[in-house]
C-alpha cells in the first residue's frame, strides 16, 4: 500500500495545481478546448502520472510501461499538461497546439503525441480497449497495469457496460478505471440529463471491485489506485466524486465551462484563484 508523507501530499497537490494552470493556459492560447473536465481530473492525473504509474518519459514506447487511456478524450488539455510536466516533450510544443503542423491533436492521438497510449475523443471506448490491453498483458505474462479515466456522461452509453462485462468475465485485475464523477455534462447536471445512480451498485453488479473516493483528495486517490493494484480476480473502479471546473469559482459546477474558452480577463481571474498570479 502506498503511504504518502505529508510532504509528498503537498508536492502532489502542487502538481495538480500546475496541471490546472497549464490546462487553462493551453486552452486559452489555442482558443478551444474543454476546461471543466480538465480541472475536475487534476488530482487524478497528478496521482497517476507523478506517483502511481510505472512510466519512463525517455522511453514512451517501453513495452512494460503502465498504460493510460483517457476515455474522456475531450479533456486532452490535462493529459497534455501531465505529459509535458512529466517530460515526455517540452512545454514549448504546446504553444502551437491547434496549428495544422502541431503534433498534438484536439483530442489525444497515439500516433502523434509521445506518451499517448491510445487515441480517444469520441466517448465510450476506454473500458473495452482497456480490457483488451489488460488481456494482452496477461497473455504475454507482462505485469504492466492499465488505467482508464472515464467521465460520468459516457457511462450513459451502452458500450461502457459491454466493456465492463468483458473485463469481469476475464477477471482482469490488472485493469483499473477511474470515474470522474463531476455530475455536469454539456446540457446540464448528469442527474437530470440521464441519472446514473445507483452507480456503485451497477458496477458491483457487473462484478467489479468498487471504491468510492473524493477525487480531489490526493491521498484518497493515490491510496485508492494502490489498493486497486492489490485486488485479485476482479477489475477495480474508483468512483471519484469531483467538481467540474474545480478551483475556479466561476467555472465550478457550471456546464457552460464544459467546452467554452476563458477570455483574457477570465483566464487572469482563474489564475489568481489558482494562486498562479497576484491580484492587481
Amino acid at each position: 500500500m502506498n503511504s504518502l508523507t505529508p510532504q509528498r501530499i503537498l508536492e502532489l497537490e502542487e502538481i495538480a495545481r500546475h496541471l490546472r494552470v497549464d490546462s487553462l493556459q493551453f486552452i486559452h492560447r489555442r482558443g478551444s478546448g474543454h476546461p471543466g473536465g480538465a480541472l475536475s481530473a487534476a488530482e487524478i492525473m497528478a496521482a497517476l502520472y507523478f506517483e502511481v504509474m510505472r512510466i519512463d518519459a525517455t522511453h514512451p514506447d517501453w513495452e512494460n510501461r503502465d498504460r493510460f487511456i483517457l476515455s474522456k478524450g475531450h479533456a486532452s488539455a490535462v493529459l497534455y499538461a501531465a505529459l509535458t510536466r512529466r517530460g515526455f516533450y517540452p512545454v514549448s510544443e504546446m504553444e502551437s497546439w491547434g496549428e495544422i503542423e502541431c503534433p498534438h491533436q484536439g483530442h489525444p492521438d497515439r500516433l502523434k503525441t509521445p506518451g499517448v497510449d491510445m487515441t480517444s475523443g469520441l466517448l465510450g471506448h476506454g473500458v473495452a480497449v482497456g480490457a483488451g490491453l489488460a488481456l494482452a498483458a496477461r497473455l504475454q505474462k507482462h505485469d504492466f497495469l492499465t488505467y482508464v479515466l472515464l467521465v460520468d456522461g459516457e457511462s450513459q452509453g451502452g458500450i461502457i457496460w459491454e466493456g465492463a462485462a468483458v473485463a469481469a468475465k476475464y477477471r482482469l485485475s490488472n485493469l483499473t478505471c477511474i470515474l470522474d464523477y463531476n455530475d455536469v455534462q454539456l446540457d446540464g447536471p448528469v442527474h437530470e440529463v440521464m441519472p446514473l445512480e445507483p452507480i456503485a451498485e451497477k458496477w458491483r453488479a457487473y462484478r467489479w471491485h468498487v471504491l468510492e473516493i473524493d477525487g480531489h483528495d490526493i491521498r484518497q486517490v493515490v491510496e485508492g489506485l494502490s489498493f486497486a493494484a492489490q485486488v485479485h480476480e476482479k477489475p477495480t473502479i474508483l468512483i471519484a466524486r469531483t467538481t467540474k471546473g474545480r478551483g475556479v469559482s466561476f467555472m465550478e459546477n457550471n456546464s457552460f465551462w464544459h467546452g467554452n474558452v476563458p477570455n483574457s480577463d477570465q483566464l487572469r481571474q482563474a489564475l489568481v484563484e489558482l494562486g498562479e498570479v497576484n491580484h492587481g
Partner: protein, 313 residues
C-alpha cells in the same frame, strides 16, 4: 467434390495459421459456430475470446489486444460489424491504426434464409470510405483460405469479406495472390469484366457464353477493393474500351463505384454495373436462385456485357 463454404475454408485456415504465428488471437460474438472461428477456439482456447453479442465492444477489445502486440482477428456478421460497430472500426482501428483484422462473415446475401436484416449489401461502401482500411474480398473457398496468412502478416487494418456459402470454385489453393494486385483470369479484347467475390465465378461463366457469340471478354478479379489496382484498370479500359463490374453488393459504393471513380479520372469508357440495384433483397430458399432473382445472374453479366459493347460503337 462438394464445394466447401468460404467460411469453413477461412475457419480452418485461421486455425492452421494460429500454429504458425503465436501472436494470432481471435474474438467472436457468440457466432463462432457460424463464422467457424470455433476451429481456432478449439485449438487455442487461451487465445480465443467470446465477448457475447456485442460487436462494438469486440472491436474495441481487439484494438486493445493489438496495442498489446497481438494480431486480433475479429469474427462476426458483416452486416453488424460494418454498421453497428462502424464507429469503433473507424476510431479505434483505422484512425488509431491498430493491427486488427475484421473477418466479416455472412457477407452479401449469403445468409439467404435469414433475410434482409442479416444481408450485408452496404459493408463495402461503409468500410471502403475509411482512411487506412484495406478491403479484401475472396472469390472462392480456396482463395478465402489463402488470404489468411497474408492478412495476418499485413501491417494494418484489413476488412476480409467472407461468404457464408461456397462460390463457383475457380482457384487452386496457393495460387499467386497479393494485396492490391488484381488477377487476370481470362484474356479478351472486346470488353473487360471486373468482378469480385462470388460474382467472379459467375462472370467467368458469362464470359464463356459471350465467347460463343463471338464476344471476347477479359476477366479481372478485383479481389482487393482498396487499394484499388488502378493500373490494371487503366490498361483494361485503354485496350478493351468497355467495362462491366460485377459484385454481390449494392451498386452504390462498392466495386462498380470504385471502378467508375478510377476510370472517370483516367480513361472514361462505357461502363455497366451489375449488382443489387438499391433495394432490400428478400429471403430465399436457395442462394443461387436468390442471386439470380436479385440481378446477379450469369445472364445479367452477359447482358450487361452486350449492352456495353453496343455502346462502344
Amino acid at each position: 467434390m462438394a464445394e466447401m463454404a468460404m467460411r469453413e475454408a477461412y475457419g480452418r485456415a485461421l486455425a492452421d495459421y494460429g500454429a504458425v504465428n503465436p501472436k494470432l488471437v481471435a474474438l467472436d460474438v457468440d457466432t463462432s459456430a457460424s463464422t467457424l472461428s470455433n476451429f481456432f477456439a478449439a485449438r487455442y482456447p487461451d487465445r480465443f475470446f467470446n465477448v457475447g453479442i456485442a460487436e462494438p465492444s469486440m472491436v474495441d477489445v481487439a484494438a486493445g489486444l493489438a496495442l498489446g502486440g497481438f494480431i486480433p482477428f475479429i469474427n462476426g456478421f458483416a452486416s453488424i460489424l460494418s454498421l453497428r460497430a462502424l464507429e469503433q472500426i473507424r476510431t479505434c482501428v483505422c484512425y488509431a491504426r491498430t493491427n486488427v483484422k475484421i473477418a466479416a462473415s455472412y457477407a452479401g446475401i449469403s445468409d439467404f434464409k435469414d433475410g434482409p436484416t442479416h444481408y450485408s449489401i452496404t459493408d463495402l461502401a461503409n468500410v471502403r470510405a475509411l482512411p487506412g482500411m484495406t478491403v479484401v474480398v475472396p472469390a472462392d473457398a480456396a482463395e478465402a483460405a489463402d488470404w489468411v496468412p497474408q492478412v495476418a502478416e499485413f501491417d494494418g487494418p484489413v476488412y476480409l469479406r467472407i461468404s457464408r456459402a461456397g462460390a463457383l470454385p475457380i482457384h487452386k489453393p496457393g495460387s499467386p495472390l497479393q494485396i492490391g494486385t488484381a488477377r487476370t483470369l481470362r484474356e479478351g479484347s472486346d470488353l473487360t469484366i471486373v468482378a469480385m467475390g462470388s460474382m467472379t465465378g459467375r462472370s467467368l461463366a458469362a464470359a464463356e457464353i459471350l465467347a460463343a457469340d463471338g464476344i471476347q471478354a477479359r476477366l479481372l478479379e478485383m479481389h482487393t477493393l482498396k487499394p484499388l489496382d488502378n493500373e490494371i484498370l487503366l490498361q483494361a479500359a485503354t485496350e478493351t474500351r468497355a467495362i462491366v463490374t460485377a459484385e454481390e453488393h449494392n451498386i452504390i459504393g462498392g466495386l462498380g463505384s470504385a471502378v467508375a471513380e478510377s476510370l472517370m479520372e483516367t480513361c472514361p469508357v462505357p461502363l455497366e454495373r451489375v449488382g443489387i440495384r438499391d433495394f432490400f433483397c428478400p429471403t430465399g430458399r436457395d442462394l443461387e436462385k436468390l442471386m439470380d432473382a436479385c440481378g446477379l445472374s450469369v445472364n445479367a453479366v452477359a447482358e450487361a456485357a452486350r449492352r456495353v459493347v453496343a455502346r462502344k460503337k
